[in-house]
């Protein structure tokens, strides 16, 4: 069993990821946090909570045609390495995704631990996965904007490895 020494404890920092209640318009995304690591640092990501507090439409009426990515729910929080601001955060390549599929609170599975050691810039991005649609199967008027009020609470541990 490893001992937790003062020097060991001193090289560990817990960094908050927080987004206060914020309106996220359809198709839009926000960077919630960015952390750059170098060798021999380690990032450990366990805990994140995504709350979908409010919507401008009845979420039960949202159909597949209203979603930009069919498998990413209404709103998602994705973790990216070296994300560049022009690309969509829902595209393939995210390291971890937390999905909110309805109004309510969605917690990441804390037993699924993501350990990151590759040097680079890690960014947590929250995105609204909805879009207007004039398709016949859409129950929502395409003139309406499908916006959500979201809150994020999370934490990531940075080990400096020194």
């Amino acid at each position: 069993m490893a001992y937790l020494t003062e020097a060991r404890l001193d090289s560990v920092m817990d960094i908050p990821l927080a987004l206060p209640s914020t309106t996220l318009q359809q198709g839009d995304w926000l960077v919630v946090g960015s952390i750059q690591i170098l060798s021999p640092m380690t990032l450990t990501y366990k805990f994140a909570n995504l709350d979908l507090l409010d919507s401008t439409v009845d979420t039960t009426q949202i159909q597949a045609v209203n979603k930009i990515f069919g498998n990413l729910g209404l709103v998602y929080l994705s973790l990216w390495l070296n994300y560049s601001s022009g690309s969509s955060p829902g595209a393939a390549g995210a390291l971890d995704v937390l999905i909110a599929s309805s109004l309510g609170s969605f917690q990441r599975n804390v037993t699924n631990i993501v350990t990151l050691t590759t040097p680079g810039i890690y960014s947590w991005i929250v995105a609204n996965n909805c879009q207007p649609s004039s398709d016949a199967s859409s129950l929502i008027n395409s003139a309406l904007s499908i916006d959500y009020t979201v809150t994020i609470t999370g934490q990531v541990r940075l080990d400096l490895g020194s």
Binding site: D14, I15, P20, S85
Partner: protein, 120 residues
């Protein structure tokens, strides 16, 4: 601070901590991400050439030009403090984390992430 629009010349207070005699505040981790420049086709006009397009720092007083520690950024991307160097504050008083747009003609979209340790 999650991604936020920071308009030209603006300063936003992200955090504030007050310490008393015998207490210690330590900062090692502070990252600034310039996600996007929102004003296109402009050559930046700097308010203070030392602070890049945008800077985030730890301040003991109100003067935006005299941080105790700061991170500046001059182009899209990320910059951070050296986490292996400690910034230890023991003087009683109010410490603030401020983020500033250092230009008079560009609006920016920025994100700042960091943590401080408090010892009593």
């Amino acid at each position: 601070m999650a991604q936020t629009e920071l308009r030209r010349g603006e300063v936003i207070q992200i955090a504030k901590a007050m310490i008393n005699q015998g207490q210690t505040l330590e900062m090692r981790m502070l990252t600034l991400n310039l996600v996007r420049v929102l004003t296109f086709g402009q050559i930046p006009v700097y308010l203070n050439s030392a602070f890049g397009l945008c800077s985030v720092g730890l301040y003991f007083g109100p003067m935006i030009s005299s941080p105790l520690a700061y991170v500046k950024i001059t182009t899209n991307g990320t910059a951070m403090l050296n986490p292996y160097k400690r910034k230890v504050m023991k003087s009683p008083g109010v410490y603030r984390i401020l983020i500033a747009n250092n230009t008079s003609n560009l609006d920016l979209s920025v994100c700042a992430t960091g943590s401080m340790k408090f010892y009593q």
